[in-house]
Symmetry: C2
């Protein structure tokens, strides 16, 4: 990428939950924006979204939309990415893609800037943004990498906004329906696209995304495969359980990590405290620990409940929380763009 003072930016999926956060984050970060083009499907085109005091109309995405674009932030789903990313790259743009389309592609870097910023240099036009639940886990695990990560057992507590704005609206509607009638007619959770639906309000669903043949969900396998790629540890053992909870914003993760050597909570805390954008909130005597409402609207990852396994000095348990739309999506994507221009 050519070094410039300002960049011509496009956001694909501008009206979605993550797209809107990308636009807000570009503004909040004072990203050097020469021009901002907002793109979406026909359904959402025509809406206007404000950016830095201007009102920008959302256009229908087409291959030509990417003419003259330097950096395109994509958050419109894997299919849209597969259609438009090659078109954008052909026209000279670098695509930062928040979908799963290219994450496991060997020629595409998968980047959490605090962990593997160097991988940005290897891009061939597309840089993939990892899955939300993976990103926050990476920020925490990377801080402990030198102790020798062996096995990660993780159970997640994932917010509905990970399924998009419609799921946020659906949880609110379920709460209204429950107030009025005492019951809920489920239509959206755990997945709008499948036949079986369950209430999400006042419930917990051990299904995020579709099931694969091995009995794990796609979300769970993302935690395994993306972690291995980002940490450059192809043999890392990861045992994932991904669970949706009635939270609007912010994913939580209960993590147990076995290391090659004994690691004390104090050693881990020291490493966590040195890590960029990782906040240690860990004082049980004052009931201080991470929780999703604390993380909402922030770009940091929070870690707490740091303690040694009762049975194994080589294993630590901790709890990790981040805003899934920001560090888990929009902010990490903008961070990748920042890394790209810093290293240009």
């Amino acid at each position: 990428m050519e070094r410039k003072d300002q960049y011509r930016i496009a956001v694909l999926g501008a009206t979605g939950a993550v797209g809107r956060k990308m636009i807000e984050t570009l503004e909040r970060r004072n990203f050097p924006v020469e021009s901002l083009k907002l793109l979406a499907s026909e359904r959402s085109a025509g809406e206007t979204i404000s950016f830095a005091g201007q009102s920008i109309e959302v256009e229908v995405a087409a291959p030509d939309s990417f003419e003259g674009i330097d950096i395109a932030l994509f958050s419109a789903g894997a299919t849209a990415s597969q259609v438009f990313a090659p078109e954008a790259v052909k026209r000279g743009a670098v695509v930062v893609d928040n979908s799963s389309a290219y994450r496991m592609d060997k020629s595409v870097p998968l980047v959490v800037p605090e962990v593997n910023a160097h991988a940005v240099d290897l891009h061939q036009g597309i840089i993939a943004n990892p899955n939300c639940s993976t990103i926050q886990l990476m920020v925490a695990l990377n801080a402990l990498k030198e102790f020798g990560l062996q096995h990660v057992v993780i159970s997640t507590y994932q917010a509905v906004s990970g399924m998009g704005q419609k799921a946020v609206d659906a949880l609110r509607s379920e709460v209204e329906e429950w107030r009025q009638s005492g019951s809920i007619t489920p239509t959206v959770f755990p997945l709008a696209s499948q036949d079986a639906h369950y209430p999400m309000a006042f419930n917990v669903l051990p299904q995020c995304d579709v099931f694969l043949d091995n009995g794990y969900t796609k979300e769970e396998m993302k935690l395994v495969n993306e972690s291995r790629k980002i940490l450059e540890m192809p043999e890392l053992k990861v045992s994932p359980t991904a669970v949706r909870v009635p939270v609007l914003y912010g994913h939580s993760e209960s993590v147990a990590v076995r290391f090659e050597q004994p690691v004390s909570p104090a050693q881990a805390r020291a490493k966590f405290e040195q890590a960029a954008n990782l906040v240690v909130v860990d004082d049980p005597s004052q009931a201080q620990y991470p929780h999703p409402l604390m993380a909402e609207d922030t770009g940091e990852t929070y870690v707490g409940r740091i303690r040694q396994d009762l049975a194994d000095p080589n294993t630590l348990l901790f709890f990790v929380v981040a805003d899934n739309l920001l560090k888990g999506a929009a902010w990490n994507a903008v961070q990748i763009a920042e890394t790209l221009i810093q290293r240009a």
Copy 2:
């Protein structure tokens, strides 16, 4: 205990969330009740509760209340149990105690009837009902005991009703406040008795009960210590993380168990299907798995998401759900009473 056709029953803590469920369960099970005495603190005395077509007035508990009682079901907290259990036993009653007061007492059996009914025979007047999150875990783990349990990593998703009726009311109030003002003034969660409070609605709190000096909560240590006692495996390794979620009724548990030998999901499923009061709900292709709303108002424990660890054939992952007020408390206590009279 002398075998009789009908028994004189007392319920201490009759107006609480669990006490009410005990009374309902005695009725639903057609427990052979000769007489039912309902006891509570002064604050709740005078209320009437219906049982089998009668309206029974709640009396203030006193030592003499237990004169002539055969079986006393206690659910009024550890302090009340410590005061009244010796008085009840002195007067010839057998106490089934739902509090934590006597659970780890070596002379007190700690019983999940599907697991260790035989332990009832050893009672010296008091039989302890385990903690809610332990009970459902025991029903599932016991089914797999013959494979050689080595290490259990568990993360919980616990309903607010585990903190009593006040917490149920508080979650409802928080939802109302959030609807009206968009914010929540927290006063009850994670514990009414501590200074630091956080919203529970649309949030997740990695604290159930108070913290101990080792960095674990009391709830987490109950999972460790009670499991060892009930399974009669004093060396069992348990790595617990207990988390409160905005669910009214029903605890969920994400469990990873390492065995002494490889165990296939099919082997585990076969054992689960043979276990009493354990329902296998496990068809990912049809999105069938346990969730709290499924378990509400039932006495069964539900298990699903049964799968082998990706890295270790000796480890299985699964998800366990039960109604924390019923199998986790009232129903297990009545089951203990049923076991007691069956074995008399």
